[in-house]
Symmetry: C2
Subunit: 336 residues, 2 copies
């Protein structure tokens, strides 16, 4: 992380108050790196940005078909959701449909929902948040579906469990790298490491999938389309993944990850984007990925959603404009 380069400045009045450094790669399927900032070989933990990779075995194994999963569920499997009623409700229905007790089967841990209505509802009724509210509960529902299909044991987050071994194999195949190891994620699942380039390369493979190829091609195509079709299931109201995918109207699928990772799948360009803000600041990752998407021509730079992430304004508690974001020229001036 020590050789990250400046990407996004944060200004307040006449001063550059803060600065986000990072690494970013745009990869074109069948070609290679078309643009990069910082060190393309930086090893990162993709965190939740690789949930569509973690969902590949769910489809490729035949589990999704065997249990009749619909596309909205696949979008939820790729989600870091807000724990709104729609998210936790779908998880409950999904798991009970598998004959599982959600709270007994899940291993993601409880999390207070980010969704305001859901949070308020819990607080007003003195109810503790549950595992279904965890932002990763859709991914874990996918893991549980695969575990059931494989006839594997309940500890599906164990790195040696068949589910995680299948995830690791898919991850190494699409990144085209041997993972140097893993960290334990916020949801207790292993999260395999790769380079920023490897993650961008994986996203480019998703982008290039046509749905007319082999099992992997079809799985990648279906997941990409499911995310783009259900932006509110991938995150939720007020969240950047949802807002950006809505603004791009299906032209790209994007996903954030903890500690400021962000990826984009751009089918019309057969390109993938991966970036990591070195300091873990989400606002920096949102600004950077949005700037790159505008540079790729799949999001208008003056779209209000794009503008809000790339330039702010930063408002205070009396709604005064106090500052703004400013991508550095090396990022702001880039065009595909």
């Amino acid at each position: 992380m020590h050789n990250a380069v400046p990407l996004v400045e944060v200004w307040r009045g006449p001063f550059c108050e803060s600065l986000h450094r990072g690494h970013a790669v745009v990869w074109e399927e069948g070609s290679g790196i078309v643009a990069s900032w910082g060190d393309p070989d930086q090893v990162i933990l993709p965190r939740s940005s690789c949930k569509m990779v973690q969902a590949l075995p769910l489809i490729e194994s035949g589990a999704a078909e065997a249990f009749g999963l619909y596309d909205a569920q696949l979008a939820l499997a790729c989600a870091s959701h807000n724990g709104a009623a729609v998210h936790s409700g779908m998880v409950t229905e999904w798991l009970t449909g598998l004959g599982l007790d959600p709270e007994a089967a899940l291993r993601c841990g409880p999390q207070m929902p980010a969704d305001r209505a859901a949070r308020t509802g819990l607080i007003k009724t003195d109810t503790s948040p549950c595992q279904i509210h965890n932002n990763c509960s859709g991914k874990h529902s996918g893991f549980l579906t695969l575990a059931k299909h494989l006839g594997a044991g309940p500890e599906y987050i164990d790195p040696d469990h068949p589910v995680q071994q299948a995830v690791k194999a898919a991850f190494e195949e699409v990144t085209e790298e041997t993972s140097p190891g893993y960290g334990i994620d916020g949801c207790s699942a292993p999260n395999f490491a790769c380079t920023v380039t490897g993650l961008a390369r994986a996203m480019a493979r998703f982008a290039a999938a046509t749905g007319a190829g082999d099992a992997r091609d079809r799985a990648m195509h279906r997941l990409t389309r499911a995310m783009a079709a259900f932006p509110h299931l991938v995150a939720g109201e007020g969240r950047s993944c949802t807002a950006l995918m809505r603004a791009m109207e299906g032209r790209a699928s994007v996903k954030t990850g903890a500690e400021a990772v962000f990826v984009a799948i751009v089918p019309e360009r057969r390109m993938g984007v991966a970036l990591k803000i070195a300091d873990g600041g989400t606002r920096g990752a949102e600004a950077a990925v949005t700037q790159i998407l505008t540079g790729m021509g799949v999001l208008a730079a003056d779209h209000p959603v794009a503008r809000s992430y790339t330039h702010g304004p930063i408002r205070n508690r009396r709604d005064m404009d106090t500052g703004y974001y400013r991508p550095v020229p090396e990022l702001a001036d880039w065009r595909l």
Copy 2:
């Protein structure tokens, strides 16, 4: 901000996942810089870290004495508090005692309290947060007290208002710099810029105050002691300022500011500390200031509070240890 140096690493499993860069200065009154990391001349907005400077005119003008302010109120004037009942209650009592309607007089804007009990209480009763809950409402109570003492108008946050002009004069005197300008803070007050060195120099002047000197010396001494005497009023339960001051048992007064500024006043060393994490990440500022305080010998490195800020652990939603912080050797190995 572009020339900040690595200060604190964030590890997950076997990987350095994130990195916080910054600038820091330790200044000794009557001597100068005794240690620095990054660029001592970096211009920053101190944000809430300079509230004890903003409170100087409240005392030096005679306003605090005229209105009989007690030390707990002065600690609250230096606070970025949690909006707990004790904080909002003191503000209400203070302002009504001045004959003011708090919500009509304050200009800080409403803010949902960080304090869990206060927040839950508001949510359960469908009550909107008020300005008294704003983390800066104590500072603003000080501003209103000074405005009343001066017979000045109600728009006390206007940069040209006598209150802010007095703040600016005090700020420039204790930093020994001509401020290059200001930004508007989250609470709508102007926040004057200075160098990291200027802020550390100001803190060293507070540290060297004996209470037996001129009006400024007595004001600085009283504010430093008030902060150390009432750690829970300066922030609140679960907050680093409160936890660190309790752990140091009066040996230092510390204060955080938005966008990862942190200062420390260390009377026994006649030294001041100021630091800014370039990316605005609070966890980085907490780790760095704690590490410096241990290096200065006023906080035991193995104290559980110190250890939690400098080394973690970082726990996930099932309370598993997933990672830790690690100050870089240039910071970790420093001793006064």
